[in-house]
């Protein structure tokens, strides 16, 4: 849940930051566009959000196929 929430939060915050900077939010000379791009990395590394939601559901005792090798290792 920590990874899922933090990675989605980082993307949301970076999106809002770019909107506040308006057109400068995509100018390469500003850092905002880099935060926006780099935050996407969190959505892929250490399990996608979809896989993490599957793991959370499984840990909650809800039935369903485990969808990832990460889960099987636990």
């Amino acid at each position: 849940m920590a990874k899922l929430f933090a990675s989605e939060m980082a993307n949301h915050v970076a999106d809002e930051a770019c909107r506040i900077l308006a057109s400068y939010g995509f100018a390469v000379e500003y850092d905002a566009q880099r935060y926006f791009r780099d935050a996407r990395f969190l959505l892929l590394g250490a399990g996608t959000s979809e896989v993490l939601r599957g793991i959370i559901a499984h840990e909650m005792g809800l039935r369903g196929q485990p969808q990832s090798s990460a889960h099987r290792n636990r």
């Binding site: 999106d15 909107r19 308006a22 057109s23 995509f26 100018a27 926006f36 892929l44 969808q67």
Partner: protein
């Protein structure tokens, strides 16, 4: 009530799609790397008569309606946003003020050649001090005998390096806020016009945005659009709905492309023993994309149709633009998630849609300004 397009409109959409696939798509990689749209690509669109789509037949145009022009923008953006943006500038913002408010001579010298692709135009609004906030504009135009002298700096000017003339917003009354803004026709070869640095940016790599300087540039007094000072805001407002609807159509094109490629990829990509399209988590993303696209398409083409019918469209143009912007950002977000790490690969189209969709956040008004406009219209009704 009829939600269908005419056979002519459907045929036109098909012809634009085929044109884009044949002449634009093979050039995308080159354009993204060079960060420009080459002149021969711009000329290809002229040969098809695209630049005259909106203009009267006696000017060499095609007299097409706004529904048809929205189709053009959607199909071009479905292929490549940068080219679509440059084309829309030439078809609409860069030339429309001459069409509506130019003298016969200006139409002959600028508009008719622009329709043929012999001359190119662009619009210069944004400045370092502000874009949305017209009243903050610092470029001034001072009357001197039979001329105006224009001084100031513009930035984020699309295609400034490649065009021949500008529609420039400048203040004739610096004290009057946005009511002091007027619009001028300025040829690029006038002494004192200087194209500055290309702005390195995340979105629409090839659209080409530049700084632009006007150093005491003199133009004849009849280059003031509207015939008298203080009319700039009114003139601008007369095409704002068109700009919003057609910018929305660009967003719809990106959304459609991202959706189509997501469906294809989800069918092919196998994870945990089956194509990922068989997982509900993926199906739901595709379903949400489809809902967004269907809703946006109805809103946008309804707004375009209302312009064609001469019906009030302030709210519909604004709601279309706001909705497609949020929708396309959701769609490209989900599309990159479906593609996983490949969604970040520079070899794939998805990263381009992901970046270019953010054009919608600023083009034709920021989202917050659009909400203000919708709110003000609701209050007025």
């Amino acid at each position: 009530m009829d939600f269908g397009f005419t056979p002519e409109q459907e045929l036109f959409r098909q012809s634009v799609r085929e044109f884009a696939d044949r002449h634009i798509r093979p050039r995308i990689k080159e354009m993204e790397e060079e960060k420009d749209v080459p002149h021969d690509v711009m000329q290809r669109m002229a040969e098809q008569g695209f630049y005259g789509l909106r203009y009267a037949e006696e000017l060499g145009g095609q007299g097409a309606d706004n529904v048809t022009f929205a189709m053009f923008n959607e199909e071009m953006a479905r292929c490549h946003m940068s080219v679509a943006a440059r084309a829309m500038m030439q078809c609409l913002m860069g030339t429309e003020f001459i069409n509506l408010y130019g003298t016969e001579e200006q139409k002959r010298k600028f508009l008719i050649p622009a329709i043929k692709g012999e001359r190119y135009g662009t619009m210069c609004m944004t400045e370092p001090a502000g874009g949305t906030d017209l009243g903050a504009m610092q470029t001034v135009a001072v009357r001197d005998g039979d001329e105006y002298v224009i001084t100031g700096q513009k930035n984020w000017i699309t295609g400034a390096h490649a065009v021949d003339f500008f529609t420039v917003a400048a203040k004739t009354d610096p004290e009057a806020g946005f009511r002091g803004v007027d619009l001028f026709l300025v040829e690029k070869d006038r002494p004192g016009v200087e194209v500055g640095e290309r702005i390195d940016k995340l979105i629409a790599f090839a659209s080409g945005c530049f700084d632009l300087y006007f150093n005491d540039v003199r133009v004849p007094a009849d280059h003031l659009f509207g015939g008298e000072e203080g009319k700039g805001f009114t003139l601008l407002r007369s095409i704002l709905n068109d700009i919003r609807v057609h910018t929305a159509a660009l967003g719809l094109g990106i959304a459609q492309a991202a959706y189509e490629e997501s469906v294809e990829y989800a069918k092919q990509r196998v994870a945990y023993g089956r194509p990922i399209i068989k997982w509900q988590a993926i199906q739901h993303k595709l379903a949400r994309m489809r809902i967004d696209i269907d809703a946006a398409r109805l809103m946008i083409y309804n707004a375009a149709w209302r312009i064609d019918q001469g019906l009030p469209v302030n709210i519909e143009a604004a709601t279309s633009k706001w909705f497609i912007t949020e929708a396309v950002l959701r769609i490209v977000d989900d599309a990159t998630r479906i593609f996983g790490a490949y969604g970040a690969s520079m070899d794939m189209n998805i990263q381009r849609y992901f970046r270019d969709a953010r054009w919608l956040l600023y083009g034709a008004g920021t989202q917050t300004m659009i909400l203000n406009i919708i709110g003000a219209e609701i209050r007025r009704q």
